[in-house]
Symmetry: C2
Subunit: 331 residues, 2 copies
């Protein structure tokens, strides 16, 4: 749909604009890029590209900048199959080499890693607890009328939630429930659990039920880590854009559904208005699913200005999600 020369010109505009954030003019393209053609010709082509919606002029007598559509074409057809530079590879490698310990901590650090590598805000949606193998379950009394149920998962994750218990419930009943819970849950997953088998004792059953119920709720609210929010202040000059974006990023709910939505639609990049979150219309989001054994357990992504470095972001996000998936699969 776009002949080769237009393609080359569009590509050059995008590259240049990403690098400089300045509207780029025809002469610049004619001179610098590989298209061996005069500025006048470039001008003509750019006029067409503008008509077709790939470019806009901020004002007459300024150069052109890419539209969302322009970026879209760029990432779909032009972005060189992502190569991450060697330094990045090394850093990611070192990171996952050293990564240890608690799941949440690792995910948190992963978002920082992505920020460091891409200089954009980063989002990590942790795996839902649903799918992980339960290695241990217990109920611990905290006070006369509260107890906490603790589940340890094979991937190093530990979830807990407080449940209410009756003051009159003796410790022995709690202990029995704990044992029963452990027996029922260990080795399985929360997701595959249909309902808790009964032990006959009403009090014990009641506690087990509420424990499982609580854990179901907990395992549903995703762990989400947003890192590098301060980079958006670096990405935009307009302070009101910064405000809007930061404010939106703080609403975890919005961020989660934003990323989920993009991943669910099978996309890896959402450019500007494509993601439908109006306050973020100056931003693009690059995501990748975290896949373990064919299962989609979470997502990682970065969020930056529409004029972000897509090839690098795509490659980096891909690499990190892969390594993270592999890492999660190990345990």
């Amino acid at each position: 749909m776009l002949d080769e020369r237009k393609t080359a010109i569009l590509s050059a505009v995008v590259h240049e604009y990403i690098a400089t954030a300045l509207p780029v003019g025809s002469s610049h393209i004619a001179r610098a890029s590989g298209v061996g053609v005069s500025s006048a010709t470039v001008r003509n082509e750019m006029a067409v590209l503008e008509q077709e919606g790939y470019l806009v002029q901020p004002h007459t007598s300024a150069g052109r900048i890419p539209t969302d559509k322009g970026y879209r074409f760029f990432v779909d057809h032009l972005a060189a199959p992502g190569r991450v530079d060697e330094a990045t590879t090394r850093q990611v490698g070192a990171f996952f080499e050293a990564a240890h310990g608690r799941l949440e901590e690792m995910l948190h650090q992963t978002s920082d890693l992505l920020t460091k590598l891409t200089h954009n805000a980063a989002v990590v949606l942790g795996p839902k607890a649903d799918a992980a193998t339960i290695r241990s379950a217990q109920i611990v009394r905290l006070s006369p009328n509260a107890a906490t149920v603790v589940l340890v998962f094979g991937n190093g994750n530990v979830e807990n939630e407080v449940i209410a218990v009756d003051e009159t419930t003796p410790d022995t009943v709690l202990a029995a429930a704990s044992v029963h819970l452990a027996r029922t849950l260990t080795g399985g997953t929360l997701g595959a659990l249909d309902l808790v088998s009964s032990v006959g004792d009403e009090a014990v059953d009641a506690i087990c039920t509420s424990a499982v119920e609580a854990m179901r709720v907990v395992s549903n609210d995703a762990h989400v880590y947003v890192g590098g929010a301060s980079t958006v202040a670096d990405s935009f000059d307009a302070v009101d854009v910064v405000r809007q974006v930061l404010h939106t990023l703080e609403q975890q709910f919005v961020v989660v559904s934003l990323v989920r939505d993009i991943v669910d639609r099978g996309m890896s990049v959402a450019i500007g208005v494509e993601h439908g979150v109006e306050p973020l219309s100056a931003c693009s989001v690059v995501v990748a699913p975290i896949v373990v054994d064919g299962e989609h357990l979470g997502s990682v992504g970065v969020l930056g200005p529409t004029r972000m470095n897509y090839p690098q972001a795509l490659a980096t996000v891909d690499m990190v999600s892969n390594r993270l998936g592999r890492r999660l699969g190990e345990s």
Copy 2:
């Protein structure tokens, strides 16, 4: 040191500037405030106040704005003993009424609450795990060479950390270590623990030692929750100030020591450069310790522009820290 009229004028300037963010002139004061005196007199007084370092003129022929010293005098001598408005009282009450469940979640929400109430960034430094009573301890194997140690505390907190184990270590040894750990720790605190008693079995002892060591480390890195960072974008017009502040806020380490330092010095407000963190010199920090049974378990605070509403911030932070302390004391 400041006669009554100067005091009144300073107070009026601070109030006005906090409200409008605009330099305030003598005529304004003469007209609006209670000082029944002409603008010329006010001018004279203001000139003195400037010499003494309480006020500055951004430029000749502009009104005056308070200096850090001016704010300091204001909060020390002029701020009306903090009254929170009724709506706030109600909101805080409702919040702690409804607060339940996991400690980390509650602390996180507390920082959001503070942000909502003061429209400033909020910091909550969670209690170190040191002091809480241990209700349960166990070791769970995750993989041939990793296990996680889980501690449940009386306040609803659950800490866990992954430790390395030898592949050759049989499950029975782990189980023994788990039992021994539970016996040793339950009912006590990490802080009061000197060293783990031996059971004679070398392998078991080794695991217990590394488990306790890991938990000691974990219990030392404070839980810190920073909420409402996006409000700093609302507080400053200069985008580079926003950048600096946000960037600083993202460095948990800096935030923690900042707050700790202020609390340790027995202060409740640090104004501008007083806290010594240079990139935050346009900000003030209002803090209050979380006290439970006379023990200082953590801190809450808000961070905003030096021209923040000190009386309200002080009162709100105080109220929240009190309620939080009371809440933590319950369990």
